[in-house]
Amino acid sequence: MEMILSLSIGVLVASGVWLTLRPRTFQVIIGLCLLSYGVNLFIFAMGRLVTGAAPIMPKGGFVDPDNFADPVPQALVLTAIVISFATTALFLVVIMASRGFTGTDHVDGKERDS
């Protein structure tokens, strides 16, 4: 599972990075989304993979942390999801505006020859 997830993170990151290096704004925004999936999974993976151990605790009594997934990375991912959603929205609006002003969807606001 670790291997599969690692590879998947790799694919997401690679696709995302490739797209963010592209010249079209839409490619960049899709790339940032993919990248954020990869990054979120990476953060999540830092808490290690556990199945059937959601960090929902019994009410009272002794709690063995090993029986539950680490909630910290999950909390971090939640924050990260929200923030990357927000920034994606913003970026979208900006690329809309950029296209409106420049008439092109090239990231530099003008078409290049090459």
């Binding site: 899709i30 151990a53 680490d70 939640l78 809309m96």
Partner: protein, 998 residues
């Protein structure tokens, strides 16, 4: 005690006067003069009072602390040499102040002039009295800055601007060099105190830094004193008002450099390097200045080159460095200041009264302004070294030193000849000045009718010329003690014996003088006819002037090269920047990971699960598909992106993160709708982009693919390396143990979010609110690209065969085509509204104990609202449901903050939560944590923000419909207008039915 206060007053007074002067009204000309003159007189009085203390080589010191930790204190130090220079600053200052009163025209803003003049005097005083070598640099640079402002006083004049800039750059750069020298010097000596530095000559000269110190120091001194090849700024500075030239370019600022050479000669001189560089530069300057001066047609130009030449003389003396040479240098500093100031003033008077300074136009002025002519002739004679005048005395000392001092180098041997040669030109240009301006037939075509200036404009000149005469006749009686105290303070016990007598016998120096005079006169007579046509410089110098070299260096060094370097080292292209970030971080990561043992994939296929592998097979396929399609098939990329997000959500669910799965799904939905909303305003890629298949473009894509693959592989390897080792002791353990007992909730993730690390959540919702506000603000000004204003093609197409033509009817209250198409689905979507409210409440209420929470609830609610926008249209929905998303955001943030601050009332820090179960009748135990209230704030902010973003984008369709309607109305007008008007908008707008345009 008095002395200590006096020297403080000396240095503060001009600055105080400057501030006062600038605040006076523009019309207060006489008040300005009174103020500035008063400052100068006060300074002179203070100096007079102080003389007894410094006359015998005594030194007065006063230190005011400024930044002791940077060894930078306002250490003032007055000795004989400084005293002597200060007399020049204040004395000539006084005369200049009076002179300027009559020189400046009524339209000139006097407060600025006197303010700057006084500030400059202050800087000069500070420089002369600085007892700390860094402080010296401070004032040194201030003189540069104020002189820059003074030269540019008439800034409407382009020449003034250029002259000021050149002066600032040259002297400012010299100041930087001087700073370097002083820092090194301080490092070598171990102190910035001038006395200690002056006493440490042997250490300095023996130190490895000495060449650096000397080089930087000399750059500083030479630039300021306009030494060759840095001399060119001085003639350009003649664009300054003449009082400024008389003050700065004869008596004060240009003397700063030679002052420094003399002052530091005990520390730095006595080496071969010193002699060669300083004496060599001095001699070169002496000659070059004198030669060019002869060719100048501009009076002030002649005086400027003359000044350069005289400064070269003083520099050469400092380079020789013997006791006698230092005496001569100090003496000549004074003499030159006096006669040159008077000459500048005289030149100013001539300019003022005739309207020109061009010697080719001036002639026979002795008829119309005889007094001025007499004064100028005497001063010019002193400049030429005529006996019985002060210039003669110090020049004889120079000749004597040049002839009698020896160190065995060829330069030493050549000195007397060079000196005589230069002096010949001095005589020649002095003669030219006298003969062309005052003699000959009276000029006829002058811009003004020449006559004598106002009396008080001439008084300063008279006084100066009187000094020229008196010093020339009775040197010992007049300035013997003063000069002696100056020499003592520089040379101390090494001070030589010298005599200031007028007559030393028929010695070699006198012979040199006479030779120079005879030859000079001959030279002038021979050259006179050709001078006015020689284009202001001898032929060999007219082609390469230092100024043009400087201009070229500046153009290349401060414009072209930086531009080229900036372009080469930077990029304005986003792709380059992104690539740099990625590549640099990847390289850094590879570098730090190189050889790490954890990266070897051990147990790679532990816990293999087919379903999970298949899941991610689909996920990866979607991700790669999205990457491939994003350029030409944008909609497809969006769908595939959704697939990848979905798989991510399932992964979260599978590995015990239900909260994440819920949130990811919700955000996924909103993001998709958002991107779709945006896609409406982005170009729909269909046609191939030109050049996309060129080998270059392919190569770049391949290169990026390699970069991306390396990044992906690296992140994957790191992830695997971490995951394959069990965690050590983490703070997560503490959260798991204390989530319920301390945080009062069973869902540890939610307890972290609303309690343990609620501050993060606080920031997160703030980000959301900010982004929503930003999107809204930006979209208020949104102007779509012309090709997206048009109705989407889907809406312009009238379906054939139409189901019914009734939908096209013109009646306004008929359903739109959209309503027809969405007729049945919209009913179901409206049903979903209350259901979404229920789901939202469900997610919100159980968050603390089970998956869910304020964020999930908020997004769910926002989706519910969004669905209603999808089901109908903006107008319809907003006439029924009025949401004020910005208020929601504000209230949510305030509410969350107030809940957090509530704890302060009980003496707890911000965001301290209180958890408790309350027993309600009939209902039973109810959890009542303040954290839940905080979550309510989160809920409100999330709803407000998400709705605001979506609605802001959605409203653009409405706005562009309005735009289209206006466009159409305009076209209607154009069609009805009698004359055809060329269409400014794209032709043939798509036909719009009235309903749609509504």
């Amino acid at each position: 005690m008095l002395a200590h206060n006096l020297i403080l007053i000396l240095s503060v007074l001009p600055f105080a006067g400057a501030i006062l002067a600038t605040t006076m009204p523009v019309t207060a000309r006489n008040a300005e003069v009174a103020l500035a003159g008063g400052v100068m007189i006060a300074g002179l009085i203070a100096l007079f009072l102080l003389f007894p203390e410094v006359s015998d080589g005594g030194v007065i010191r006063r230190t005011v602390e400024w930044v002791p930790s940077a060894s930078l204190d306002i250490a003032l130090r007055l000795d004989g040499f400084a005293w002597l220079m200060l007399v020049l600053v204040y004395g000539i200052g006084l005369l200049v102040v009076i002179y300027a009163r009559y020189y400046l025209s009524p339209s000139d803003p006097v407060p600025r002039f006197y303010g700057l003049l006084l500030a400059f005097a202050g800087a000069m005083v500070g420089m002369l009295m600085a007892g700390n070598i860094i402080l010296l640099v401070v004032f040194w640079e201030l003189t540069s800055i104020f002189s820059f402002l003074l030269i540019g006083y008439w800034h409407q004049n382009a020449a003034a601007r250029d002259g000021a800039r050149t002066a600032l750059i040259v002297t400012g750069a010299g100041g930087m060099a001087l700073l370097g020298a002083m820092i090194l010097l301080g490092q070598v000596v171990g102190s910035y105190d001038l006395d200690e530095v002056l006493a440490a000559g042997d250490i300095v000269r023996a130190h490895g830094f000495y060449p650096w110190i000397l080089g930087l120091f000399l750059i500083g001194a030479f630039t300021k004193s306009a030494q060759f090849p840095f001399h060119f700024w001085l003639p350009n500075a003649m664009a300054a008002p003449t009082p400024v030239s008389a003050y700065l370019h004869s008596a004060t600022m240009v003397k700063a450099g030679v002052f420094l050479l003399v002052r530091f000669s005990p520390v730095l001189s006595g080496t071969a390097a010193w002699f060669w560089i300083v004496a060599g530069t001095g001699m070169a300057t002496l000659i070059v200045g004198a030669v060019i001066a002869l060719y100048r047609n501009d009076l002030k130009g002649l005086l400027a080159y003359s000044t350069i030449s005289h400064l070269g003389l003083i520099t050469a003396l400092a380079g020789i460095g013997s006791g006698g040479a230092i005496v001569a240098a100090i003496f000549h500093i004074m003499n030159h200041a006096v006669f040159k100031a008077s000459l500048f003033m005289a030149a100013g008077i001539i300019d003022h009264e005739t309207g020109t300074r061009d010697m080719r136009r001036l002639s026979g002025l002795r008829h119309s302004m005889p007094r001025t002519a007499a004064l100028a002739i005497v001063a010019a004679a002193a400049m030429g070294g005529v006996p019985l005048l002060n210039g003669f005395l110090s020049k004889e000392m120079f000749f004597a030193e040049a002839a009698e001092w020896h160190n065995g180098t060829w330069l030493d041997v050549a000195l007397p000849y060079l000196a005589t040669f230069a002096s010949m030109f001095t005589v020649a240009y002095s003669l030219r000045f006298i003969l062309t301006v005052f003699f000959g037939p009276p000029a006829t075509d002058l811009p003004k009718e020449p006559h004598e200036p106002p009396t008080w404009m001439r008084r300063p000149v008279e006084l100066l010329v009187l000094i020229v005469l008196l010093v020339g006749l009775f040197p010992q009686a007049l300035i013997g003690t003063v000069l002696q105290s100056g020499v003592l303070s520089v040379l101390g016990e090494n001070a030589p014996e010298y005599s200031l007598a007028l007559w030393h016998g028929f010695n070699i120096a006198l012979m040199m003088s006479l030779t120079a005079m005879v030859l000079g006169a001959a030279l002038y007579l021979a050259a006179a006819p050709r001078l006015s046509r020689a284009n202001e410089a001898p032929a060999f110098l007219s082609r390469v002037s230092a100024q043009s070299v400087f201009d070229r260096v500046m153009l290349i060094g401060t414009r072209r090269l930086p531009l080229a370097a900036y372009g080469r080292l930077g990029s304005r292209r986003l792709q380059v920047q992104m690539r740099l970030i990625v590549v640099l971080v990847a390289c850094g990561a590879i570098w730090s990971l190189w050889g790490a043992t954890r990266l070897l994939p051990l147990n790679a296929f532990d816990n293999f699960q087919w379903s999970f592998a298949l899941l991610w097979f689909a996920g990866c396929a979607c991700a790669i598909g999205a990457a491939i399609q994003a350029k030409y098939h944008r909609f497809a990329a969006l769908a595939l992106l959704g697939g990848a997000g979905l798989v991510t959500a399932v992964t979260f669910a599978c590995f015990s993160a239900p909260d994440l799965a819920v949130t990811q799904l919700l955000v996924e939905i909103v993001t998709t709708v958002l991107l779709l909303l945006g896609l409406r305003w982005l170009p729909k890629r269909m046609r191939e982009i030109p050049g996309d298949q060129r080998p270059q473009a392919r190569a770049r894509r391949l290169q990026d693919m390699v970069i991306a693959s390396i990044c992906g592989a690296g992140v994957a390897a790191i992830a695997f390396a971490v995951m394959s080792v069990p965690p050590g002791l983490t703070i997560g353990d503490w959260f798991r143990r204390n989530a319920y007992s301390e945080g009062g909730g069973t869902n540890a993730v939610n307890v972290i979010l609303v309690d343990f690390r609620a501050f993060d959540t606080f920031g997160e919702i703030t980000v959301l609110a900010i982004v929503a506000l930003t999107c809204y603000s930006l979209l208020r000004r949104f102007r779509p690209a012309p090709e997206s204003v048009a109705l989407p093609s889907q809406q312009t197409f009238n379906e054939l065969p139409p189901i019914s033509r009734k939908a096209d009817r013109e009646a306004v209250d008929e359903p739109t085509r959209h309503d027809v198409m969405m007729h049945v689905p919209s009913v179901i979507m409206q049903w979903m509204f209350p259901v979404t409210i229920a789901i939202s409440a469900y997610l919100f209420l159980r968050g603390h104990d089970l998956p869910g929470g304020g964020f999930a609830g908020g997004v769910a609610f926002a989706i519910g609202l969004l669905l209603q926008y999808l089901a109908t249209n903006v107008r319809w929905i907003e006439s029924r449901i009025i949401i004020l998303p910005i208020r929601w955001m504000g209230l949510g943030l305030l509410f969350a903050a107030l809940v957090g601050m509530g704890s302060a009332l009980f003496g707890y820090p911000f965001l301290t939560a209180h958890a408790q179960y309350v027993h309600l009748p009939f209902i039973g135990q109810v959890p009542a944590a303040t954290a839940l209230l905080f979550d309510l704030g989160v809920f409100a902010v999330v709803v407000g923000s998400v709705v605001l973003i979506q609605i802001a984008i959605a409203h653009q369709s409405l706005r562009s419909a309005r735009l289209r309607a206006r466009e159409e109305a305009r076209e209607e007008e154009a069609r009805e207008a009698p004359q055809p008007i060329l269409p400014t908008t794209p032709p043939a707008p798509p036909p719009i039915t009235p309903q749609e345009a509504r």
